[in-house]
């Protein structure tokens, strides 16, 4: 009897604290909203895609009318330049009035920011809309094997896919081995972006994961001691592949965007993307022919999440959090997933959403070039971010001249 009372009491206490916590959180959020009103958020993001820019333009109009926040998109050609600026600001002792309020980031850039204490947070897990986030995805909690720990708010999912034009290619290669055979069959029509371009390095990682014996090793940090042993299969593979590549593997397209352009003209037969909806969205935008399709490798492909982060010296942290929260809302996420706007997959778990919000996602026309969830196969976790510089340097040493 006593034990039960005690249990009931403890339950009650837990309940009360939980309620209090929730109400405190709600109150906190309301004061945050009050602070955010009238603030200007400088959102630095890669500006190379008109579709993304238009989507952010829509979000800017929404946060203006809903929360009175002025969202200004600063389009940059490269996110690292922004990371460099924040680092320089810290070095110059600028603790306030930072030039960046919100930043589109992941992977190595996040690693640099986090290691150098350049981030505000933890904030993301206390955003109201975070409760819908699909926390079962490992890449949401670990960005390139680096614990996120609330220092950035998830924004979109990415999984490596390959693009081909079904009018020109009947059967695309579904593994690195098949890719080698395909390249032999179509010499000069296959390539990958020049590392250290983002997707170039990703291709190296994918090839390494498919050729090596113990892929789990890559989740641990890089170590000079076993680097050559671990990566030997990759270099063997590339040595075999390169003679059959575009320009005999002496030269590489500068980025995945260039490869899409070359896929359109037929200079290349295959292209590469981190967005499973890329092909459908590009078809809708007139960038690729309607016959382009997507495929993945049988062993699975690399997947990651991209995030929004707030620098330590932002003067508009309240408004930046409100914007990050809005971009996590089912409404904003559903619009983002629609290929006629952007086509970037959601980070939300649809099962958690209300019926009304689920309907938003079900209404999206993904287009014939997008694979279904089953066809996407299983995902491979991104190697620890510390592998990236080592892989890039070794590639440079072997093929960079």
């Amino acid at each position: 009897m006593r034990g039960m009372w005690r249990r009931c009491l403890s339950l009650l206490v837990m309940l009360v604290t939980l309620c209090a916590a929730i109400s405190v959180q709600a109150e906190d959020w309301n004061t945050l909203l009050k602070h955010a009103r009238g603030e200007t958020v400088y959102f630095n993001a890669w500006g190379g895609s008109p579709r993304v820019n238009d989507y952010i333009g829509w979000a800017a109009a929404e946060v203006k009318s809903r929360y009175g926040i002025n969202l200004k998109l600063v389009k940059v050609a490269d996110t690292s330049a922004v990371v460099g600026r924040i680092l320089a600001e810290k070095a110059a002792g600028r603790e306030k009035q930072g030039s960046v309020d919100l930043l589109w980031v992941n992977g190595e850039n996040f690693r640099t920011l986090k290691q150098n204490g350049l981030l505000f947070g933890p904030f993301s897990t206390s955003l109201p809309n975070y409760e819908w986030v699909d926390r079962s995805k490992p890449s949401v909690s670990h960005d390139f094997a680096i614990p996120v720990e609330g220092m950035e708010s998830p924004w979109g999912m990415a999984q490596l896919v390959f693009l081909y034009d079904s009018a020109r290619v009947e059967q695309p290669p579904h593994s690195m081995e098949a890719l080698l055979a395909f390249a032999r069959e179509h010499p000069g029509r296959v390539s990958y972006p020049l590392p250290p371009a983002f997707l170039g390095t990703t291709f190296l990682k994918q090839a390494l994961l498919e050729t090596m014996k113990r892929p789990m090793r890559l989740l641990q940090p890089y170590d000079e001691a076993d680097f050559s042993e671990v990566t030997a299969p990759l270099w063997d593979y590339l040595d075999q592949l390169h003679p059959y590549l575009w320009h005999q593997g002496k030269d590489f397209p500068a980025s995945a965007e260039v490869m899409n352009h070359m896929l359109d003209s037929g200079e290349l037969l295959l292209s590469i993307s981190f967005n499973p909806n890329e092909a459908s969205a590009a078809i809708l935008a007139g960038q690729l022919p309607g016959s382009v399709r997507t495929y993945v490798h049988d062993k699975g492909t690399l997947a990651n999440t991209h995030f929004l982060a707030i620098p330590f010296n932002s003067n508009h942290k309240a408004a930046a959090q409100v914007v990050a929260n809005f971009l996590l809302s089912p409404e904003a996420q559903a619009r983002k997933e629609d290929p006629s706007f952007w086509g970037d997959p959601t980070v939300l778990d649809l099962k958690l959403l209300s019926a009304e919000d689920q309907a938003r996602f079900q209404a999206i026309q993904h287009g014939s070039a997008t694979l279904t969830a089953e066809e996407m196969g299983h995902v491979l976790a991104e190697p620890h971010a510390s592998w990236v510089p080592a892989l890039e340097q070794e590639w440079q040493r072997r093929y960079g001249h």
């Binding site: 500006g47 050609a77 680092l87 030039s99 029509r189 250290p196 965007e257 037929g266 960038q287 960079g400």
Partner: protein, 593 residues
Amino acid sequence: MATALRPLTRRQWRQYWQSAGLHSLAVLLLGVPLLLGLTGTVLLSLGSWQPFISSSAISSAASSPPLSLWQPLLQLPALPHAILLSLTTGWAATLLSLSLTLLILMVLRSPRQLHWLQRWLAPILAIPHAAMAFGLMALLAPSGWLLRLLVGGRSNGLPPDWSCVQGSSGMSLILALVLKETPFLLLMTLSALARTDAEKRSQLAATLGYPPGQALLLLVWPALYPALRLPLLAVLAYGLSNVDMAAIIGPGNPPTLAVLIWRWLADADVQQWLPASAAALLLLAMMLLSLLVWLGLEQSGRWLLLRLTRSGWRWQWPARWHALGRGMASLLIGLLMVSTVLAVLLLLCWSFSWRWPYPALWPQSWTTQHWFSLWQAGSELLGNSLLLGLSSALCGLLLCVLWLEWSAHQQRPLHLGLWLWLPLLLPQLVYAFGLQWLLLRLGWDGNALALLWAHLLVVLPYMYLSLADSYRGLDPRYQQQARLLGMNYWQALWRVKWPILSPALVTALAVGFAVSNGQYLLTLYIGGGRFPTLTTEAVSLASSWDMRVIGVYAFAQLSLPLLGFALALYWPKWRYAGLQGMQPDVVKGRSEP
């Protein structure tokens, strides 16, 4: 001796102070930021700039002994190739542009032709470098328009795997540079021609029995060269250090040294910035060496020309050869002009296309959607570009006139040479990073005034170059006459000297405006991303490789400077209609009365 010992008069003192003031103004405006930026880069390259990156990310690099950063850089297998590429493309482009300029002058003799040519040069100058590179890609790539025209339809539906652009030889980069630099050199030569006694010299040469081509080389060229030295060196410096053209149409693996630095600076790995700064110094050394070699070549060229002139040797070629030479030269010039025009037209075509697959010669479907999206986003970009361009050009004009007017009254001329050369010859990659740090320290970054200052840094030299000769070359008797007629100093300036110079002043404004409009790196770094312009937008959208959007922004970017040049050309015509002597006619020295 006696004069030296005599105490200075008040007037002399005033002059000293004024001259010191003007010099320090130049040093403050141009020298200090550049030198500080450079110092930052040097410190960074030595790995000893702890306060800059005080993080664990580079602790291994920063704590190692100085110069240790240079070792991995120098051992990089791509480095010798990259340096060689930079040198070959930069030098080849400069020498080719120079020879083409001379060739064009030899072929086009009549003032009418030169006048026509001059009118066409300004719009070509207004084409942004990156846009030109993209236009050439659209023309010359394996899936480009030229090959579609030649082999399209006959192949298996796929473009050939040729490396005609971005090839490791850098040929396409050289071509792109030549197409962009020859018009610049030609315009500079034409304006220099008008200020020399070229007509008299060629007449003299003709009476001495020199054929026209040789006359140009032996007698006219030495008179022109002093005015062309700095433009030529600027062309060489640009060729060696440019990023915007080389990253698009240049070789990719390895790229030129400047692109290599650019890639490192854009790397997420902070460790890469240190070799990048070391490589930036290497680039600087390469440029200084190239300048020295150029000055050496200048001396030997002078010696050679003197020997040739003294020997009294005359070209005794059969008339047939002359005709053939002229024909070849005309063909070459025609080809260059056609490829420029085609490149621009192709971009225009792309900007209106919806789908344009290989091997179709014309777009399959058209749209105005891309232009419409520019229309929606354009007002802020346009406003920023206009405001920045106008304010920096006006400030630049004010300073240039101040310097020139003052130096006109000094016994000793104002030695601004070094300070003006520095921003032209130092690659922005070398100092922009350090300059940004300096402004951050002062808390001035992202500030409109700081951005204006940064723009002035590059705008001033070009404006000064464009204005100085006309300003100094004006006959002082106009002003003397005005004073004799009872005007005071300021009235004489305001009512006589400056109106007479107004075509040159307006041209300088247009030049400054165009230079300011073209700035990407400085606008982004110093402006903290708060001042998006047409150029920053165009560069960030260029990474999409969507030729349709690139086409739209190329034209948007080109429109403002073009408008500026057109105004500079037509405003005096309208303002001083009926006053023949006031027309901006750079070849008037050669035109018939």
